[in-house]
Each structure stands twice: as C-alpha cells, then as structure tokens.
Symmetry: C2
Subunit: 335 residues, 2 copies
C-alpha cells in the first residue's frame, strides 16, 4: 500500500518574514524505502530560528534548502517501514524529517528516542537541539564558573530558558531578557531566574545595570541588535559573549545591525564567540545524561507551545519572531 | 637650580580629530623630587592611538586625562635627579613621562633601558608597548599556529608591522592591509609579508579573498570599521579575531560602526577577543628576549617616523589618523 505524505515545499525565497507566498503545500506518494532508508510517520515538527537561515541562498554551515525542496526541519515520529538494521516498525526516532507528515529518509541520520522516559515533543526541546545548544553553549563556549552572573536574551525561549536554569544549577546568578511581563514572571517565578528584564517595556541598559551589579561574566545572545549592544556595555573583565543567534536580525530587509559597542571587548579583555552545536556531536551523551537527571529531579523545567496541523506551518513559524509563544515551539502533525 | 619643563596640557576635550584648540603649551618649574620620585629629561615621546581614548571622558581600562593635566604619554629619557634607590643620574628610563620636556614621576613606574643595545626610540616601538602588544596579541590572544594565514590591518604601523613579521618567523603566512602603494611595497619588499592590500586603492573584500585562498585563521585588527567587516567574511573555521584597536573610529563624531558581519563568528565557530597588553606585564621578559634576539639576527625590522619639537605635538599626533607616517611615530624632544 502506497503511503501519501503532505509536505511543505520552499517555492520562493522569503525577503523579510516568511509568508504563505514562500511555500506550497502538496500531497505526494511516499517512495518505497531503499536499502538503509526508513519511513517515519511524523508526530511533531520542530520550529527553530535557524530554519530562517536555511531559507537564505547564502553560504553557511549547512547548504540552503533548494527551491522546490521540502523545507528542512527536525522532527520526531514513529517508524512505519524500515530497511535499516538499527530501526524497526514501531520505534520512535528523532532527526531531520522535514516539514512533512511522512518522511522517507536515511536511517543513519536518525536517533532512537524513548517515549516512556519523556513526552515525544521533549526530544525536540529540552532533550533535543535547543537543550544541548544551551548546555554546550553555556558550559563550554561560555566557560561558566560558579558565582558568575549569566545574562541571557530570548530567555523565555527554547534555548534561553534552559541556559538560565543550567546557570542556576551550576551556582551562578541568572538574569533573563524577555518580551512582556508574563514571560518575565514565568522566568522568575517558575524557572527560578534571579531577575528578568522586559525589553518591550523597560530600559534594557538601565535594567542590566540594576540587575547585574557585579557586571556580566557570560552573556548568552539569542537576539542580536540593540540588546546585544546594551549587554556589551556591562561586561565584566574577562567576560564571554556566546553568539547563539540573532533573531532580531533574521528578517531584516536592511543591513544587519552590528554591535557598535564591540570595543568593550578590548576594555574588558572579553571575547565574543560563535558556535554550532553539531561540533559537539561526540559529546551529546554527556548533555543528555545531565539534562535527563535534572529533569527527573525537577531541577530543570520546560514549557512548550504546540500548534496543530501541518498546514499551519507558516503561521506557526512566524511566532518565533513575534514572540507569541513560550518555551519550545512545535508543530503537531499527528497523534 | 630649578629646572623648567615645557608641557602640553589637555585644556578642552576634543570632538573628532584633536587640534591645537584642545591643548595649551606652558612652561613650569619642575618640582623637587619627593622620596621615591625621579626627574627625567625626556628624549622621545611616544605617539599612540590609545592616547585618543585617554582624552575621552569615558570609563576605560585607565582613567581619562583630566582637564588641566599634562597629556599622558609614554616616553624615554635620561635621569637628571633621583630619590629612588633603583635609578641614578645618567640612567636611561622608559615610562609614562607625559608630553613634557622634563618629568618628575614616581620611580616605581619606570623601567631602565640600555641605549647601547638599541637606539633609545626603539624602546617606544619594537622593544616597547607596540612590540609586546604585537607579540602577546598574536601569539596568546590570536593563538597563532604554524601554517596559519594571518591578516593584519594597520600593517605598516608600529604594531601591525611587527605582527606580520612575527607571523612569518613562526611559520605562518602574513597578509597586510595598509594605505597606499608605498606602504604596501614596504610590507612585501622590506618586511617579508606574503602579500599586501592597499585599502585606499583596492577592493579590500576582493583582495582578501584573492590573497587568503585558505581563508583567515587570525585577523589582527587595528582599524575597525569596514575593514574589520570585510575581514569577518573570510574567516576560517575556528578563526581568532584579535581586537587591538579601531583607529578608523576614534575620531568619529557619529556612533561607532559595529561589525555587521559579526554573525560569521557563528557560522565559522570563531571568536573575537580584546586584550590590554598590561595584563601580560609579568611576562614582558619573554617578549623582550625573543624580540631582541630577532632584531639582532635581522629577522625583525622596524621603521620609525620622527617629528621634532614638543610644540609639534598636535600635528604629529594627527599623523596617526591621516596615515602620513611609516612604522612607529615618535616626537623627538631633545638629543
């Protein structure tokens, strides 16, 4: 019996915020798996800021998605056919399934996940790329030390919310920057941040000064733009600025705004460093072991925003940029 | 007998390029040295881009020069009176003497120099702050490795010219960015750089691409602005960007231009790091030993531009920004 997949194709590269004009949704038969391939019924699709970069025809750490190709995305699902020795029908897997309801993909790119240990969607968030991005970004690139003050932007998002919590677990202070009073309350009251800054309603520079009296040892940046610039002015000597993303700039139609205060790196003998979490692939096990333990003991909490239906892809994706979501944003494709 | 000093006082903070309006030149009696102080007859005054920062009323790694105070500057001279046990009349010393012909200063801030080993002015350049800035900036902050491609801006200047030569000594490729064909020829023909880029007459981005086919492992930045931005686009994976200065921005009347291409730090897993050479004070000996050896064996060459007369201070200082000089710029005060 031939399976049918509903898939979202990149039909035109976006300028600015992607809209329905940039994608077509089509139905297509799922091919029979070749040797080494696995057919997966998608349950949840991950919506990540990095996907905006993949839509751009520019050199980066991975090739852009081609026009006419299925939009690239991480996902979790259930194996419904397999010609790969590691996977059997009924297994649950995580990998680059693309924005489609059924995926026929090489098994070598998939990882088995256990739905009895955590909800499937958690493998796209706290136990997935956002979680390990927070983990290695803060601990390795940020070289976190006990007693540090950690400032994180996009703090109510999938990565930022974990950065702040790991900081607390490791004996640092955590201050988060997020949009709106609800998110700020969530950071402090539910996630245990020491303070939160509402960039939509407060003077960010003044609030960083007030909430980080000993200056900032690690600034974990997910947003770029004026918030990065403000954070740079309050770096401590020897500070580390972790460049994880720049969501404020991804849909910019003009030139990206560079951090005009970058010379504080000199005055403060500080460094600004970028990273790609894939470079830590051999050490993912460490992160999953620690994060799993913290989840079990309740030290680490997470929230997610679930949008239902693959045809909602464009609207759901836009929530990453409008901020109209909390924690990890996922698209639910099937039960 | 009371000595008289001619001294340059900061009378008004400059906006943009400093001019004679910002300084007054006055004669004053030299005080009798107190216990621990030394009176020095200045021979050469160092003119450095960092001095522009010291004229600004903004927090930095040292306090600003106050209005009405002698302009801060490094210098070398001869001891003419001493109440410090380490220094005797006739000794030659290096330290923050200020822009004045005779300085009465604490002896603890001075270092003895030997005019029989190198010309006195060399202790302000290759054997002074510019030399050790190049040395620790390239080898420590830049973490130079054999086979690296090193790109340096301000390459015909006091620091940049040494950066490129140390790169060559250590088995790396050196490419310099400088203003005008004469400086570029000097870099390649006299200092042994592999290639030079004339930012005044060439397309910098295109020339970086052409001269650094394996991309850039270390970019040593003295200038900031558009050249920094161009260099960022050609970083190699794991590259180090050493922030030493931003001379293109120091006299800016508008907001500093931040590097809009900073997100290449993420794509290339690269870091951008600032430093202050004073932090390496305990290791200066290493640098002076290596640099002295390279000078003796002719592996390291230097040039200087000498302006005569303390009353020429403002005009001479302006040459740092106009580029109308080669190598280390010094003001000669007396024979």
């Amino acid at each position: 019996m031939t399976q049918t997949t509903t898939r979202v194709i990149l039909s035109k590269r976006p300028e600015g915020l992607p809209s329905d004009d940039n994608f077509t949704i089509e139905k297509a038969p799922v091919p029979e798996p070749a040797e080494g391939e696995v057919v997966v019924a998608t349950k949840y699709i991950s919506l990540d800021p990095a996907m905006r970069g993949w839509m751009r025809d520019a050199p980066s750490y991975v090739p852009p998605v081609g026009i006419g190709e299925v939009m690239r995305a991480g996902g979790v699902g259930e194996v419904i056919a397999s010609r790969h020795p590691k996977f059997s029908v009924g297994d649950h897997v995580n990998g680059l399934l693309g924005v489609q309801t059924v995926a026929c993909v090489p098994g070598d790119g998939l990882h088995a996940v256990d739905p009895s240990l955590a909800p499937l969607s958690a493998y796209l968030g706290v136990l997935g790329m956002p979680g390990i991005t927070a983990y290695f970004g803060l601990l390795e690139v940020g070289a976190l030390a006990e007693g540090d003050t950690v400032l994180v932007s996009g703090a109510a998002g999938a990565v930022g919310s974990i950065v702040g919590q790991i900081a607390k677990i490791k004996g640092a202070r955590a201050v988060g920057i997020a949009g709106g009073p609800d998110k700020c309350r969530h950071l402090v009251d539910e996630l245990g941040f020491d303070a939160a800054i509402d960039y939509k309603n407060e003077d960010v520079a003044a609030r960083i000064k007030a909430t980080c009296p000993d200056r900032v040892n690690v600034y974990f940046d997910n947003v770029g733009g004026e918030i990065l610039n403000a954070a740079l002015t309050r770096l401590a000597t020897g500070a580390r600025v972790v460049i994880c993303g720049a969501i404020s700039q991804y849909n910019n139609l003009e030139e990206v705004k560079g951090p005009s205060n970058y010379m504080t790196l000199l005055v403060r003998r500080a460094r600004m460093e970028g990273f790609i979490v894939f470079d830590y692939a051999e050490r993912y096990g460490e992160a999953f072991r620690d994060m799993g333990g913290w989840l079990t003991t309740g030290k680490l909490r997470y929230r997610e925003t679930v949008v239902e239906g693959i045809e909602q892809f464009t609207d759901a994706f836009a929530k990453l940029f409008s901020g109209d979501k909390l924690g990890k944003l996922v698209l639910k494709v099937s039960d």
